[in-house]
């Protein structure tokens, strides 16, 4: 089963909308699973798209690009993986074999786009100096239009040429390699979690790890349940911290008042 021209256009458009939103309105840029599911919906297999998106969502946990740093583009990987998996009929592993590397390659495009943006910014500033404000405000959004190409172009290339590449790879992949890929898929979220923990105030609140772990490992509680428990703990902590702040502020005020009165007495 191949892709029709209409499907190629729709999937590429999905990639464009994804990247546009991720960098401007920032609604669904982190919802990798949504893009797997939407790609599935376009190709008539919502469920498989959802499951592939879910797998990639779990892989992406804890991996964040902060302060403009570049990182693997998981939603792009989800769009490609779902498309390849559904159209080739070879399942998730085949899709991800193409989707993940391309998502990683996307990082290089990111660098290129940011360099183009430098040129756009300089041009806009020159217009400002010349007091051509209309030209300035028209120049800046060029960046907004160009930026989403960083996802659209890799997706287009991958879905048009991906299937034959997948066939070639699958034909020569040994058994242990596919098993190893699946094992790695199970282990890789650990890297993201470890990274997350580095950012967290573990010295102060690390013991809550035990509560979450026990709830799920021993009691088999789903994550949503643990999140609700965590919300209760968070509310409690917030209330006690903010009341402590108030008390401290009040006592320092009182001390201030007392010393002033003392001064007057003397």
């Amino acid at each position: 089963m191949g892709l029709t021209i209409k499907e190629v256009i729709l999937i590429s458009l999905l990639a464009y909308v994804y990247s546009l939103d991720r960098h401007s309105t920032q609604i669904a840029g982190k919802i990798t699973i949504l893009y797997g599911a939407l790609a599935g919906l376009i190709l008539g297999d919502f469920k498989q798209g959802l499951e592939i998106g879910a797998t990639l969502q779990l892989m992406s946990l804890g991996v964040a690009n902060l302060g403009g740093a570049s990182m693997p583009d998981y939603p792009t990987a989800a769009i490609i993986s779902a498309t390849i998996a559904i159209t080739s009929g070879k399942g998730m592993a085949a899709g991800m074999a193409i989707g993940l590397p391309v998502g990683m390659l996307g990082m290089n495009f990111d660098v290129l786009i940011k360099l183009i943006n430098s040129a756009i910014a300089k041009r806009a500033q020159n217009f400002a100096h010349k007091k051509q404000f209309g030209k300035m405000t028209r120049t800046i959004p060029l960046a907004t239009i160009i930026y989403p190409l960083e996802s659209t172009i890799p997706v287009f290339i991958a879905i048009v040429f991906g299937k034959s590449v997948v066939q070639a790879i699958l034909n020569f992949m040994p058994q242990w390699f596919t098993v190893g890929l699946n094992v790695a898929g199970g282990m890789l979220p650990a890297v993201g979690f470890a990274m997350l923990l580095v950012y967290m105030p573990l010295k102060k609140y690390g013991y809550w790890l035990i509560v979450g772990f026990v709830a799920t490992a021993y009691l088999k509680m789903p994550v949503l349940g643990v999140a609700l428990l965590g919300a209760a703990a968070a509310i409690h902590l917030y209330l006690s911290l903010s009341s402590k702040n108030k008390v401290m502020a009040n006592t320092s005020n009182n001390v201030g008042n007392l010393s002033e009165e003392d001064m007057e007495d003397e």
């Binding site: 100096h129 007091k131 800046i140 102060k204 917030y238």
Partner: protein
């Protein structure tokens, strides 16, 4: 008051124009072009004189990079300053921008780009793997609500003006700590539910077949995932690069699969 040149509509317009977001990000000036673009109509109203306008724009063309969700607090405040004092405020505007962009990014990035996607991503991912899209819609709904609430921060920034730092300070600390506890608990949970390490080896003792996995599960369920995360955590603390660790995990998984120690 005659010095109020901006209406509510102007602020809202600026806030919506801020949705140009990080598409203009570049290595020289960060997201400065976005700030220039969003502020331009308001600044045009404030500065009747073209030369003053260029001075102000030039200032906003300087490097600026802040979490785009919280940035409106800063530029809302600086807009109020420029409205009140004009070009005399430019230095103070620049100081406020560079002074606050770091701390606000720190808090915003941690909560918005790390905690929220981790918590809702874990829920959406674990439900989605079983074919249930409910968690995904929940994830989307939360971010959609935020999308509609975010312009409000521009008004907060505009109204608090220079008092911003004092007003935010202590509350934000308590809030960050509280959210951290929620995040840490969820990580504890998803280490068990999401990281998957299964051993394949089995032993024969007196005709009874015992698998390595069943022994491990008796010691503690999800023992290997917990150990894996702990080891990776200490490696990261020792400044080992993330890319190195990802590669190491893949190699170990491949080797383990080849000798049958791990199974999918």
């Amino acid at each position: 008051m005659s010095d109020h040149k901006l209406t509510k509509k102007d602020i809202l317009r600026t806030a919506l124009r801020h949705y140009l977001g990080v598409t203009t990000f570049n290595y020289d000036t960060g997201i400065a072009p976005t700030i220039v673009w969003e502020l331009f109509p308001a600044l045009r109203k404030i500065y009747a004189n073209d030369d003053d306008l260029v001075l102000s724009l030039d200032n906003h063309f300087r490097y600026y990079n802040c979490n785009p969700w919280l940035s409106p607090l800063i530029t809302g405040a600086t807009l109020a300053m420029e409205e009140k004092d004009g070009v005399k405020s430019i230095e103070a505007v620049q100081n406020l921008k560079t002074g606050l962009m770091g701390p606000l990014s720190g808090i915003g990035d941690t909560i918005i780009w790390v905690m929220m996607p981790t918590i809702f991503g874990a829920i959406a991912g674990s439900m989605g793997k079983k074919g249930n899209p409910l968690g995904m819609w929940l994830f989307l709904a939360v971010f959609l609500i935020c999308f509609f609430l975010r312009p409000y921060l521009y008004f907060v920034g505009y109204q608090t003006g220079t008092n911003l730092i004092a007003k935010l300070g202590q509350k934000l600390d308590a809030f960050t700590d509280a959210v951290s506890v929620l995040g840490i608990m969820v990580i504890g949970s998803i280490v068990s539910s999401t990281v998957n390490v299964q051993t394949g080896w089995a032993f024969q003792t007196g005709g009874v077949k015992i698998t390595l996995q069943s022994i491990l599960d008796q010691i503690c369920p999800s023992l290997l995932p917990a150990i894996l995360v702990a080891v990776l955590y200490y490696m990261l603390k020792k400044k080992v690069k993330m890319a190195t660790l990802i590669l190491a995990v893949i190699v170990i998984a491949m080797l383990g699969a080849a000798i049958g120690l791990f199974k999918a």
